[in-house]
Amino acid sequence: MKKPPEIDERYAAPDAADVRLSVRVGDGQIGLIRVFIGPTLKVSAPNVIGRLLVGTGASLRGQTVRVRTTVNDVLAQTNKMSVSYGLEGGAQPLDVSHDGEVDADGDMLLFKAAFRMA
């Protein structure tokens, strides 16, 4: 099993800017994505979250946006898994991803990402 490395990134956005988050489960697998702002669950959705408004730059300052995705191996062709993230609203958009691989068909992996809003 290849566990995915945890993503830990800082992201800065102007006070008035809307910060939007996109998350995608790749490699044709099925995953349940949860987005937390601080300790609070904001959204839970399967496979894809597109341009979710997580808040303004001012409201998020000092907070951590955490994304947890539990990915299931549902394809016989591959045991590879990946989760990609996109953040926009700051001076530059941020695109990061991480991947993992399970040993046996039907296994699952937990992907963790944290975005510290500056």
């Binding site: 489960v25 044709g28 995953g31 601080g38 496979n47 955490r66 539990t70 299931n72 039907g106």
Partner: protein, 406 residues
């Protein structure tokens, strides 16, 4: 008493290949190499065309899933032999050798024709010893290479969404437990940012303890989750709607294992469009009322025996209106062979059949039609009726426990 034996007795009421035409006196039947009694199912685009062309069913097929594994595999096969490795089989799905972060589950199921071809293409390669004059003699090697892909992969199985929902429900239950550490992680990070390292470490220990206890607490949810995930994998192989597979393959012989003596031994091309309709209930596997239509076209040349190019076209329709009863009809036409040039009618097979599952495991079946004329003037009637009588799986008699040994 009829359930005493866990075996089935098959009673055949068989009138197989009864001659319609008497053989002409003085004609010595010969055994022509073709036409063979192929059926549409035999003519499907093979999963591994290279193996099919070499007539091999390798007991061990290498299926590397990464470029590194593929390279290592190939190098080790070449190193382990003096030249071309004999009795080697490998099958690779190039698309799946690398990761595809942009490919979502929906994207996988709703792929364009080009994307479907990429996702489903497989390359098979096999080598076998080239048989000599006697069975235990070899005087070289044969190499086969084949490619197979789907132009259309069909629509999702009707029960796929129910399995996906079941998987997500089990995953949500697991996620609730997994996410119990999120508030602690948030607290840990705040303590670290405030420079309270010892307190942060203490919270980290609580996180570690919580995560260590997860597998035991999640066992039941994980069992349901895994079952649903594996069911989704299985349903991917049972798609409905329009499916079209194509394959090509070529095999070469290398007498004396010399490259300069290589020659094309066989080549073939297959196209298999098909359509499948299915009506399913809510329970897994509860599917009835199926209609399967399969059209097959195949071109084959076996240069070891002839320079003729055989062209086969066939179709099969199977209808199962209720689980207990099914009807089928199939027809195959072959052209291009020597025998078919002289007697074109010899190259057709048209057969209809039925199956009716009676109570107590009994199966009534039959088929009727015209077969290939393998021998000039030989039997061409297919007339097969049978009753398969099952005796059940559970014995009525209780078996006494073995007497205790002194």
């Amino acid at each position: 008493m009829r359930r005493l034996l866990p075996i089935a007795l098959t009673l055949f009421l068989t009138l197989t290949a009864r001659p319609l035409l008497a053989q002409a006196p003085g004609v010595t039947p010969t055994a022509p190499a073709e036409p063979k009694a192929v059926t549409p199912d035999d003519m499907r685009a093979p999963t591994s065309p290279a193996f099919a062309l070499l007539d091999v069913s390798p007991s061990s097929v290498e299926r590397p899933q990464t470029p590194k594994a593929f390279t290592v595999n190939l190098i080790s096969a070449l190193r382990g032999s003096d030249g071309l490795p004999r009795s080697y089989a490998v099958e690779v799905a190039p698309f799946w050798l690398t990761s595809h972060p942009d490919l979502t589950f929906d994207g996988y199921y709703h792929a364009s024709v080009v994307q479907t071809m990429q996702q489903t293409v497989t390359v098979s390669l096999a080598t076998t010893p080239l048989a000599g004059a006697s069975a235990d003699q070899t005087f070289g090697s044969s190499l086969g290479v084949g490619v197979r892909t789907l132009l259309r992969a069909g629509n999702p199985h009707p029960q796929l969404q129910a399995s996906v929902d079941e998987l997500l429900a089990a995953t949500a239950a697991i996620a609730t437990e997994q996410d119990a550490t999120v508030p602690l992680e948030d607290e840990r990070d705040r303590l670290r940012d405030a420079g309270q390292t010892a307190a942060a470490d203490e919270v980290q220990r609580r996180i570690d303890a919580l995560e260590a206890s997860l597998p035991k607490r999640l066992a039941e949810h994980d069992r349901k989750r895994r079952a649903a995930a594996l069911r989704i994998q299985a349903l991917d192989k049972e798609r409905v709607g329009f499916v079209m597979a194509v394959a090509v393959a070529e095999a070469w012989d290398f007498p004396q294992d010399r490259y300069d003596q290589h020659r094309i031994a066989r080549w073939g091309a297959w196209a298999t469009p098909g359509y499948r309709a299915l009506v399913c209930g809510a329970k897994p596997g509860d599917c009835t009322s199926t209609l399967d239509v399969l059209v097959v076209a195949r071109v084959l040349q076996d240069r070891r025996t002839s320079t003729d190019t055989l062209r086969d076209v066939g179709a099969r329709v199977a209808w199962q209106p209720v689980p207990a009863f099914s009807l089928s009809f199939e027809t195959v036409r072959r052209s291009g062979g020597t025998a078919t040039k002289t007697t074109p009618d010899a190259s057709a097979r048209t057969v209809g059949g039925f199956e009716y599952r009676l109570e107590n495991g009994m199966l009534l079946y039959g088929s009727f039609g015209k077969n290939f004329e393998n021998v000039p003037g030989g039997h061409t009637l297919v007339s097969l009726f049978g009753l398969n009588v099952g005796f059940g799986k559970k014995p009525d008699l209780k078996i006494a426990p073995a007497a205790p040994t002194p």
